[in-house]
Symmetry: C2
Subunit: 222 residues, 2 copies
């Protein structure tokens, strides 16, 4: 014990340690987002954070370790933002629309797009990246897809829902790139939403639940 300020039983050493850890994460996220993973040196990170490599290797396992920590922060933040944006939706299709817009908004921040979508799969490897994603944004998307394709006339089982989720995830990532690299992002966003609207309307016309929307009892754990 021996706490100094009565915050929550946190000693001064722990406060300082957490501060340096946050500084490292902050500097790393900035540099990774701007220069990319390979072009970012640990010396640059610790220089920006005003510490040394000893501090970095005390808090993280190495370059990949601090990268995963940055990723984890970004994914948690993104997942919260998307789930929050889907709160008011009534039927699953409206929820899908809201989630789509929110996801596109997340993809427009350079850190998420570059690090989570592009760099993470090659840096972490496919299976480790899948583990990361399975607990955050991909889980959200999977719930949305499950809500849309549940209880339809077509034979869409859980494996098909997984397949659809993977496909839509890739489609959304590419759409985010198209928006970011566009000269007119707002116009590009409108085109992307129009394109996905066409895809969703097409699926809805086939699945054949225009407004019934019966099986939306449990879509997400919100």
């Amino acid at each position: 014990m021996a706490t100094v300020a009565g915050v929550a039983g946190i000693s001064r050493r722990q406060q300082y340690s957490a501060a340096t850890r946050r500084a490292l994460l902050r500097a790393a996220e900035q540099l990774f987002a701007v220069r990319g993973y390979a072009a970012t040196s640990l010396d640059a990170i610790v220089s920006d954070a005003k510490v040394t490599k000893g501090a970095l290797y005390h808090h993280f396992s190495g370059k990949q370790g601090i990268f995963e920590a940055v990723l984890s922060d970004l994914e948690d933040q993104a997942a919260r933002s998307i789930t929050k944006a889907m709160k008011g939706a009534k039927d699953p299709w409206d929820q899908a629309r809201a989630g789509l817009t929110a996801f596109l908004e997340v993809l427009r921040e350079p850190a998420y797009s570059r690090l989570v979508v592009h760099e993470a799969p090659t840096v972490l490897g496919p299976q480790r990246f899948a583990e990361q994603e399975e607990r955050s944004t991909f889980a959200v998307l999977r719930n949305v897809v499950s809500g849309v394709l549940n209880g339809d006339a077509l034979g869409v089982d859980s494996q098909m829902q997984e397949t659809f989720s993977r496909i839509f995830f890739g489609a959304l990532a590419a759409a985010g790139d198209a928006i970011v690299e566009s000269t007119d992002p707002s116009a590009a966003t409108q085109r992307v939403e129009a394109a996905f609207g066409l895809l969703l309307d097409g699926m809805r016309s086939l699945v054949g639940t225009p407004e019934r929307a019966d099986g939306d009892a449990e879509i997400s754990g919100s």
Copy 2:
């Protein structure tokens, strides 16, 4: 002049030079595909090719240079394979189906999937990667999309076709990953083709092709 063997006016020096260049490309493609770009050292490449770094830097501008050469080979090969597979198709939707199957086949070879789809965007940067893709597989896909969405009732201009192409490209890449990482690739391929079939049928029902919109909406391809 002064040709040794009368092949086609190619001197012995040029033959040797081309041979070492091919050996370098071959070794680089192998190592890049297996270990990835970052984990592949130039020493390993020149060791496998049984030359030295002097030879590599004589033929290529550096690590990124030989990587781009490998990419160029892979993309040309892929584009030829896909266009060849689409030769027999008559209506645009059938062409899209054939191109889809052929593209999924290409994505199953590790070199293309890992290098072109995953590593290339981060190694080359977005705009340089776009230049590469614009001349090969992406151009093919864009033609297919253009054929499908041309002259429809909906207001789909060229920019929307570009957007659709980008989205489908991302979707196909993710689908390829899902297939490769699956424990049962053939079953995963059937699921992917069923999912894209649903998407295409949905679009077709909206676009409203007058002729033969037969309801072959079989989802499970098993």
